[in-house]
């Protein structure tokens, strides 16, 4: 059939191959989606299994038990508070890091800063340095000196540092794409460096901001080691620490109950994220249309 010289059939053949390609593509993508979702669906199922069923190993339970959710909500009565702490710490970390990164990135590219080469070198070197474990003691000492132990807000300071270097480097490369001429032009027009940044720089770097925000969100949202070490009051702690406490071996926590905590803990993030995603896409599309 492919040997035919008729143009028409050739086009048909091409179209059919294309369609097959689309189908195969969606099959493969959906296989990946399943790989991501099936483990989470299994947790959802686990959270409504009766306890003996959960320990029998079979996939589908004989008896459902929906009481695990009320059990964990009563047992961890600080859960909403911990969720709030996580949101608060994450939001503050993201905001502060982003501001630091924008200022530094702007300065490193568009301002004349003596010694900026060394600053960049240090930032890059720090990316490859595994400092986490042993620096913990130092960080503890610093926090203690500052009186920030056992405060939710105190976590923000070390958290900002977790991704600061990479955030500055991201912003630096973003600002490199903002033409020098543009910045210089604004300054010839009499804008100071701050005004230039605010009126000309910031509007041009929105997608860089998005990247920096994501990077910091993911790290701060899931951070465990610092949070476990630097806080001790249940009401002060972030969600991951409280969750880790619940699954610690000695506690009276059967698998389905931990699964219920699991579902409660990750659902708000996913839902909020789903909604916000839509808004964000809309905003972008509107903006894109105007352009």
């Amino acid at each position: 059939m492919t040997t035919t010289t008729q143009m028409n059939s050739h086009a048909n053949d091409h179209r059919r191959r294309r369609r097959m390609g689309v189908i195969i593509r969606h099959v493969i993508i959906n296989a990946f989606m399943l790989v991501i979702l099936v483990p989470l669906a299994w947790v959802l199922l686990l959270s409504v299994k009766s306890i003996p069923d959960a320990y029998s190993g079979t996939l589908w339970p004989e008896v459902f038990d929906f009481s695990h959710y009320s059990f964990v909500l009563q047992k961890i009565d600080t859960l909403p508070r911990n969720l709030f702490n996580s949101v608060y710490v994450t939001a503050a970390t993201v905001v502060i890091t982003t501001v630091c990164a924008v200022l530094a990135g702007y300065a490193l590219v568009h301002l004349d800063v003596p010694g900026q080469k060394y600053v960049v070198f240090l930032l890059v070197a720090s990316l490859y340095f595994p400092v986490r474990v042993v620096s913990l003691i130092s960080i503890f000492e610093i926090q203690r000196t500052l009186g920030l132990i056992n405060t939710t807000s105190g976590l923000i300071l070390p958290y900002v540092t977790l991704n600061l270097a990479i955030s500055i480097l991201i912003m630096r490369s973003i600002f490199e794409q903002v033409p020098h001429e543009l910045i210089d032009a604004a300054r010839i027009d009499g804008c100071g460096p701050w005004k230039t940044l605010w009126t000309v720089g910031v509007p041009l770097i929105t997608n860089g901001l998005v990247v920096v925000i994501i990077v910091n969100f993911v790290t701060a949202w899931g951070e465990y080691l610092l949070a476990a070490t630097l806080t001790n009051d249940q009401a002060v702690r972030t969600l991951p620490v409280v969750l880790a406490g619940a699954h610690g071996g000695m506690g009276q926590w059967a698998w389905p109950r931990i699964a219920a905590v699991y579902v409660i803990a990750i659902t708000p993030g996913i839902v909020a994220f789903g909604f916000a995603q839509k808004l964000f896409f809309q905003g972008l599309m509107e903006g894109a249309l105007k352009a």
Binding site: F140, T231, D233, A235, G245
Partner: protein, 477 residues
């Protein structure tokens, strides 16, 4: 894995292309939008909860939080105890005790996954956020806490009648250089638990009292098909090797306080483990899933999943796992079996309270701990179980057992009597800076015999001993 982030070069790539003239500025900017569109995802979650970024609005990071200002160690602070999380989880009536101490600043200790680091760091600054820590196990961390100057003895604060009421072996466990550094609270003893549903099905009517009987019963379980596996143990030394060794003889510690792996009783214990493994689940030697591998171990899963009949561990473990059975009352418990010619001892440890040297309210702390440890509701809940927990941990005081012997409460199960019979013979692991870690360091060595890579148990145990000595030499170097 800490996610370092890489995407900045995405933009770099775009820029390079811009410079090479492959795209013009307009395309460049449009594509930048595309980049934002592509990674838009997570950031938008934040858009819902964070204020828009404005350089002038960067909040001061240390703005006061609603947290209790525990760090401000002022003289007038209330009594501030801190508990290991699991103690609160397992003993739900602790809040009732706390209610008798108005103003008490009850806290959970920042120790999970990280041990005593916070306490030591504070002591180095001659301060302490807390007054008393409930959760110290003598052979695990007491030596370190004393060495680092974190804790001080209770002797000036504990009433004499309480001191005299401690079971002698427990008092010995908690004493260093004649001073009581741990006020014991919860007693764990290693004993035997079994699933009566399976033993009934296999037609086993007697309780094994020797290891020979134990292994035979376990074989019968498997051959009768009552369960997939006959018996199991927790491969961590202090939960299996040491109690088995003690059941032969508890006199296996060197003068400096280390476990003598090469002693005859220890070899006997190791051989017993290998015999048990033939009747057990293949993953028995693997590390557990929580708390640095020491909890959530394979034996717990096997017992909870009703795949094994016989189990030796501290009683809390079978009780906790049997709570997941359809009928938890099928759990039976008794003392640890012994070797025919053995001493019939076992291992116990207590979890107790230590007094922070730089803490405050020391008299008040003693008053609180006394009230806590003599609280009869806690003991009833611990031994008989409640809707939320069944720890099976026992009191450290002779007078409580005497009271139960004099008039037995209707909630008191039989196993308590069986254990208290063995308790006078039981021995704690000797306190030492390497009290716990010697078993973690040596485990791969003795397991060479268990997994078959070394046929001679003596050579394997010599390796265990050498490994510990090598580590100690590093400290002394």
């Amino acid at each position: 894995m800490a996610r370092k982030d890489e995407e900045y070069l995405i933009q770099k790539d775009l820029y390079a292309r811009l410079q090479r003239g492959q795209i013009d500025r307009r395309q460049f900017l449009t594509r930048m939008m595309g980049v934002g569109l592509g990674i838009a995802g997570v950031s938008t979650a934040l858009a819902g909860c964070a204020a828009p970024t404005a350089p002038s609005a960067a909040p001061a990071a240390s703005s006061g939080d609603a947290a209790p200002a525990a760090a401000d160690a002022v003289a007038e602070r209330p009594l501030t105890p801190t508990f290991y999380q699991w103690i609160e989880d397992l003993h739900p009536s602790i809040p009732a005790v706390n209610a008798n101490f108005p103003g008490l600043n009850y806290q959970i200790a920042p120790v999970e996954g990280f041990g005593i680091e916070r306490f030591v760091a504070e002591a180095k600054n001659s301060e302490s956020t807390w007054d008393v820590y409930v959760g110290m196990t003598p052979f695990v961390e007491m030596t370190a806490l004393i060495e680092a100057g974190v804790i001080e003895p209770w002797d000036d604060y504990i009433p004499q009648d309480v001191l005299d009421d401690l079971i002698p072996s427990i008092r010995e466990e908690c004493t260093v250089d004649g001073k009581l550094y741990s006020w014991p609270f919860l007693l764990d003893v290693v004993g035997m638990g079994w699933n009566a549903e399976m033993t009934e099905q296999a037609g086993i009517a007697t309780i094994p009292s020797t290891w020979t009987e134990y292994l035979e019963a376990a074989k019968l379980i498997q051959s009768s098909g009552a369960a997939l596996y006959g018996c199991t143990f927790d491969s961590h030394g202090w939960r299996s090797l040491v109690p088995y060794t003690h059941s032969m003889s508890p006199d296996v510690y060197t003068p400096e306080g280390l476990f003598d792996f090469t002693s005859e009783p220890a070899i006997a214990g190791l051989k017993l483990m290998k015999e048990m493994m033939a009747l057990s689940h293949p993953d028995i030697l693997l590390e557990g899933a929580t708390d640095g591998g020491v909890n959530g171990t394979p034996d717990e899963v096997a017992f909870a999943a009703r795949k094994v009949a016989y189990y030796t561990k501290y009683f809390n473990a079978p009780l906790r796992m049997a709570a997941n059975w359809p009928d938890p009352s099928k759990l039976m418990m008794g003392g640890l079996p012994k070797f025919e010619n053995g001493a019939g001892s076992t291992v116990f440890w207590t979890t107790g309270s230590c007094l922070f040297k730089h803490g405050k309210n020391k008299e008040k702390a003693a008053e609180y701990i006394k009230s806590l440890t003599y609280d009869m509701q806690i003991w009833q809940d611990s031994i008989a179980g409640t809707a939320v927990a069944h720890p099976g941990q026992l009191p450290p005081y002779q007078s409580i057992y005497d009271g139960w012997a004099a008039s037995r409460p209707d909630w008191l199960p039989d196993f308590v009597g069986l254990i208290t019979g063995q308790l006078p013979k039981a021995r704690a692991i000797t306190n030492h800076a390497f009290g716990l870690t010697q078993f973690q360091i040596a485990k791969p060595e003795w397991e060479k015999y268990l997994n078959g890579s070394e046929p001679d148990p003596m050579i394997a145990m010599q390796g265990a001993w050498d490994a510990v000595q090598a580590e100690i030499a590093k400290t002394k170097a």
